[in-house]
Symmetry: C2
Subunit: 215 residues, 2 copies
């Protein structure tokens, strides 16, 4: 297993590359050069070349990289060659969306069930996935050996529920609440901050004409 640690900005750009590479692959291409990738992107060529170089694949001058090798390397690095099963906690509108968001299957994430404390939601199935009462979480986490959770509950309950999840064996939490979770060693969280994105969007909008702010 590769243990080389890439820079955070590089990691964030990898899915963008991967998306284009998969497209090119569908179109039957065999090799891909930085130049070809750049056409679809707004990154600097050197940046792309450096990012791809971190994958430690040999590129052929004049040709580029072997497309499939590059795809495999990125998928492997991200761990997207095998999917992890995950529980989603909080079947509000955002939770329901994520349960039905097809593209995740390309990103190594498989949400297998949802949980909620609202009895009007439990017992039904959403996007083909069963919704259970949150009380059943600990037992089901243990039984099914689930290590990944997606947290889409109101922020007021976030820390408490996270504590329960961790106690039951969850090792990684993708957190969509605005709360910065406090977690013990050995548990990772990642905050998906929609508000940050919206803030940036709002400011760009305001500065529309005289702006020099970049994405």
């Amino acid at each position: 297993m590769r243990t080389k640690i890439l820079k955070k900005p590089t990691i964030k750009r990898l899915p963008t590359y991967l998306h284009i590479l998969r497209q090119l692959s569908n179109e039957g291409e065999e090799y891909v050069s930085t130049t070809k990738l750049i056409n679809e992107l707004e990154f600097e060529p050197v940046l792309v070349r450096k990012d791809l170089a971190t994958m430690d694949l040999p590129g052929k001058p004049r040709l580029g990289y072997k497309l499939q090798d590059l795809i495999n390397a990125i998928e492997e690095y991200l761990g997207w060659n095998e999917t992890s099963d995950a529980f989603l906690v909080g079947c509000g509108s955002l939770g329901v969306a994520l349960m039905g968001y097809d593209p995740f299957k390309d990103y190594g994430l498989n949400i297998v069930a949802g949980f909620d404390n609202d009895s009007s939601k439990t017992g039904k199935s959403i996007h083909g996935k069963q919704v259970y009462n949150i009380a059943e979480l600990p037992q089901m986490i243990k039984e099914q050996n689930i290590e990944v959770a997606v947290l889409t509950i109101p922020w007021q309950y976030a820390q408490d529920v996270a504590n329960d999840l961790i106690k039951a064996g969850i090792k990684a939490i993708w957190n969509f609440t605005t709360v910065k979770l406090k977690v013990p060693e050995g548990v990772v969280t990642h905050n998906e901050n929609l508000a940050s994105g919206l803030a940036l969007f709002s400011v760009k909008k305001k500065l529309r004409d005289n702006s020099d702010i970049e994405d």
Copy 2:
């Protein structure tokens, strides 16, 4: 109107501050110091102080900032003191979620209607908002003077639909597809890249034990 341009990382942190400040305000606090903010956060104190300093408010040594002034300044800077009406295009699972995502009302965004080309979706209302056929978009954008669009359609159609939106008068697109939209001068887009977040999450997960990667 304030035209001072903040740094991108600062802008992304503002909503986090705002969230905590609003909480403190609800609890009846009148002043807030960096020290108090830090308790809820994982940022460096100096960083927070510098971010807040960009708001150009006088802080009182030993006391901190006047809470309400700080909240107002941040909201004003982000343009969140007044909400913009927006159309959402693409009522798939993600689109439906965003239409029903309550917190947006605190973030200056008001999605007033949805659009889709699937006749099984049009004519109904979702989360209290009407869904129209995408063919009606141009006319309705003009009639209602809408300048903001949220784009949650499959990426294959993203550029084409964006072109139509812009032609009809849309000035700002919050783009949830994986495509980097090409837009003319005077139109802003912001890409919300869920895949980037998931990539970072995946890598953190993989490196769980021996990691030195930071959020």
